[in-house]
């Protein structure tokens, strides 16, 4: 693949989301750049996500999609550019406090292996000082289809991969954050389990209405789950738009080739 992305792609991205309507922007990254030594991970990337919207970041390994996601909860601090959450620059917020208000699901679930499922799910409510973290955990486990008393006392390693991802999702949702970040949450699962979890995820979004940023390398998953898709390559955004817009009006040959596989 060649570097077909141009600065005009970011312009397109901004206009695409601006066209999404009058809903407030919940998340925005503006001209964000990040390098690791000589390697440019992000090169003046701009995206924004409307409240309640789901944006999928898609690209190959090394495209910068995970780095961009981690800039949103300050797991990575960009070299240049700004990130805002609810119109507040994340630079002005203590990163630990910021992260407690943003749900997070990594690919392997990231459950703490020495803790029970209940303690894992109750973690964020506890960190936020909730008076009854166990109740929040039980609610969250029910949301993802578990009977809390059945799995609550188990260790993560006694669960299947799909069950672990559901627990991870429950942990991300337990404190009912307005924003949830998912980093290839279903990437390591078999096709059937993945389809089940994708269905469950769609239902949860409909029910809870949270803002979501989802990293994936699977264009079908992106189109199935997200309202908008940002196509990334070599640390730049080729195009941001609805799946239909990307299919009908691909901004670059790279986007066109990608959408042909959807």
């Amino acid at each position: 693949m060649t570097g077909e992305a141009t600065p005009s792609a970011t312009v397109a991205a901004t206009s695409a989301t601006a066209g999404a309507g009058a809903r407030a922007v919940a998340l925005a990254a503006t001209e964000v750049s990040k390098s690791y030594g000589p390697i440019v991970a992000l090169d003046r990337v701009s995206i924004d996500v409307a409240a309640g919207d789901c944006l999928a970041l898609i690209g190959e390994s090394g495209s910068g999609k995970t780095t961009l996601l981690r800039c949103l909860n300050r797991m990575v601090d960009p070299d240049r550019g700004t990130v805002t959450v609810d119109a507040q620059s994340t630079r002005d917020v203590d990163p630990v406090r910021l992260r407690r208000h943003i749900g997070y699901v990594p690919q392997d679930g990231g459950l703490l292996p020495h803790w029970s499922v209940r303690r894992n799910v109750a973690l964020v409510p506890r960190l936020l000082g909730d008076p009854d973290p166990a109740a929040r955990a039980a609610d969250a486990l029910r949301l993802v289809g578990f009977e809390p008393d059945e799995v609550g006392g188990r260790r993560p390693r006694t669960l299947s991969g799909g069950q672990r991802q559901r627990v991870a999702l429950a942990r991300a949702l337990a404190a009912r954050p307005g924003v949830v970040l998912l980093d290839e949450p279903f990437g390591a699962l078999d096709a059937i389990t993945r389809a089940e979890l994708q269905d469950g995820f769609r239902r949860l979004r409909a029910e809870l209405g949270m803002t979501v940023v989802l990293v994936t390398h699977d264009i079908r998953e992106a189109c199935a789950l997200a309202d908008h898709v940002a196509v990334m390559q070599h640390g730049r955004v080729h195009q941001v738009g609805t799946p239909r817009a990307l299919r009908d009006e691909p901004a670059t040959p790279y986007v066109a080739r990608l959408m042909a596989g959807a």
Partner: protein, 549 residues
């Protein structure tokens, strides 16, 4: 082998010394067994005199002679038998941790003062006398009257068939013989290298053998030539022939008491008492004493008592001397007195009280040092986990400690902490640091990266991540480090016996010195058992710890 009886001498260098340190002159002049008023002062007025020995039979006997003679003159004596090697004893003397121990002039010249070698006994004595006094304020008393020099020995049958009398003869026939020498003898410039140089000696084969094993190896025919010491009691037991050093290349090893600065200052008359032994012990008498100790198993206390009686120095000695010192660490008491023919089991049963006390001391040394190491190294690992750059330096430094040989570490301890339980604990703690710190650091640093990353990403603070995630995830690795340190400490604590801290090393050190396998095993078997028990208990702790997190 020439048994030299050198009485008090006054050479030019002596006069120089007298001019330099006038009060030393009083001691030398007073060497003629002149009773003084202070002998009759109540013993309680003075502090106890600490008499040490090196860990071998002859040194035990000589130290006990010093001790009983001092006691006969109203002194209280604290015995520290089997204290370390030359460096340990000499450092302890210099540091004032002990007052007196038996040493050899050749050792003083070569190993302590690192002076050029000499073969004239008188010149060597003068050299160590002035050298030790001017450098360390340590005084060599006039020699006891015998030498314990290197002796190259063969079986009588070998000597007869090959007509071996001198080392020149050995050089002629040596190419067909197998030698078993101590590593010390092989390496020391005045040992095998000197033999090779002076006699052109080339042996068919040279193997390094432990001090305690070589006589058995020679008697059984496993080797044909060994190095020994001219007063070894086992020379007589195995009917061996000592080959004459006809070119006189071995340095003289005259035995003498060495006395530290504190005793010279506090109780000069005690030194006068000790000089009563100067020039009265000849080589035959010493060899016989060694034989009775090493072959018959006669207690050291009895040997010393008998020797003082027969030398006419026992005027005030009580009829039945008590061999064991008050703190019970002296190997001079009942241990060798039990019947040498009784089996190992019978020996263990007979010694069970003593062995239990030693085991308790051993366990205390291990647990205290381990506890201190854990309490200091876990927080250190937590701190270092947040500063990996400093961690490299810190781990390197602590790891370097681990490479210091145990006996050398103990030697470093003496000038700083003296002898006894304190420095032994410090040394054991230093040895426990590395496995605990290393494992804790690595365990914390490399705790499941996915889990740690997620813990950060959901908003745990750095200290919460460290204490609630990294530390518990590292628990099995940390426990593995603690178990390693514990088992190492049980083994290393046997070295504590070298600096008078007791423990199961005591029968091992003494048994090695006396070539008494039973005594060695009576320390080694409980030590091995202790290692297994400690490791097993920690395994239980580990299981509970992992289950509870």
């Amino acid at each position: 082998m020439r048994a030299r009886r050198d009485g008090p001498r006054a050479g030019p260098s002596r006069r120089w010394l007298i001019a330099l340190v006038p009060w030393v002159a009083l001691v030398v002049v007073g060497a003629s067994r002149r009773p003084t008023a202070r002998h009759d002062e109540p013993a309680a007025v003075r502090r106890p005199i600490i008499v040490a020995s090196k860990p071998f039979g002859e040194s035990f006997i000589l130290a006990e002679l010093f001790a009983q003679l001092l006691e006969a003159h109203g002194r209280r004596v604290e015995r520290r038998p089997g204290l370390g090697a030359t460096e340990l004893d000499y450092s302890a003397l210099r540091a004032g941790s002990i007052d007196c121990y038996p040493e050899y002039t050749g050792t003083g010249l070569l190993a302590i003062l690192h002076a050029p070698m000499g073969t004239d006994a008188r010149a060597v004595f003068d050299a160590v006398l002035t050298g030790s006094m001017s450098r360390d304020s340590i005084r060599w008393l006039p020699p006891l009257g015998f030498q314990n020099r290197y002796a190259v020995a063969v079986r009588r049958a070998t000597a007869d068939s090959l007509h071996l009398v001198t080392l020149d003869d050995l050089a002629r026939a040596g190419h067909a013989l197998r030698a078993g020498f101590t590593a010390d003898f092989i390496g020391r410039p005045d040992g095998l290298p000197a033999l090779a140089r002076a006699y052109g000696l080339h042996l068919g084969r040279v193997d390094a053998l432990g001090q305690a094993l070589k006589y058995q190896a020679l008697a059984s025919g496993a080797v044909d030539v060994i190095d020994g010491y001219s007063t070894d009691g086992l020379l007589a037991r195995y009917d061996l022939v000592v080959l004459t050093d006809n070119r006189q290349i071995f340095p003289p090893y005259e035995a003498a008491a060495v006395v530290g600065a504190a005793l010279q200052r506090d109780d000069p008359d005690a030194i006068v008492v000790l000089t009563e032994l100067s020039g009265v012990l000849d080589e035959a008498r010493m060899r016989e004493l060694n034989r009775r100790l090493e072959v018959d198993g006669t207690p050291v206390a009895t040997l010393a008592h008998d020797a003082l009686q027969s030398l006419g120095l026992a005027r005030r000695i009580a009829p039945s001397p008590s061999g064991r010192s008050p703190d019970g660490v002296a190997p001079t008491g009942d241990a060798p007195s039990t019947d040498r023919q009784a089996g190992l089991w019978g020996y263990l049963v007979a010694e069970r009280g003593h062995l239990l006390a030693l085991t308790a001391r051993h366990l205390t040394l291990v647990l205290v040092s381990l506890g201190v190491a854990i309490v200091t190294m876990l927080p250190a690992a937590l701190l270092l986990a947040r500063a990996p750059r400093r961690a490299g330096v810190a781990l390197g430094a602590v790891g370097a400690l681990q490479t210091v040989p145990g006996i050398a570490l103990l030697a470093f301890m003496i000038p700083l902490f003296g002898i006894g339980v304190g420095p032994a604990l410090v040394a054991l703690i230093l040895y426990s640091l590395y496995p605990i710190l290393r494992n804790a650091y690595v365990g914390i640093r490399e705790a499941d990266p996915g889990a740690v990353d997620a813990a950060v990403a959901v908003g745990m603070s750095p200290s919460q991540v460290l204490l609630e995630v990294r530390l518990p995830l590292a628990a099995p690795v940390i426990m593995a480090g603690i178990r390693t340190a514990a088992v190492l400490a049980v083994g290393t604590a046997t070295l504590a016996a070298f600096i008078g801290a007791g423990g199961l090393g005591e029968p091992i050190v003494t048994g090695l010195a006396l070539a008494d396998t039973r005594m060695i095993l009576s320390g080694a078997i409980p030590a091995a058992g202790l290692a297994l028990v400690v490791d097993g208990l920690l395994a239980l702790v580990e299981r509970r710890l992992v289950a509870s997190t």
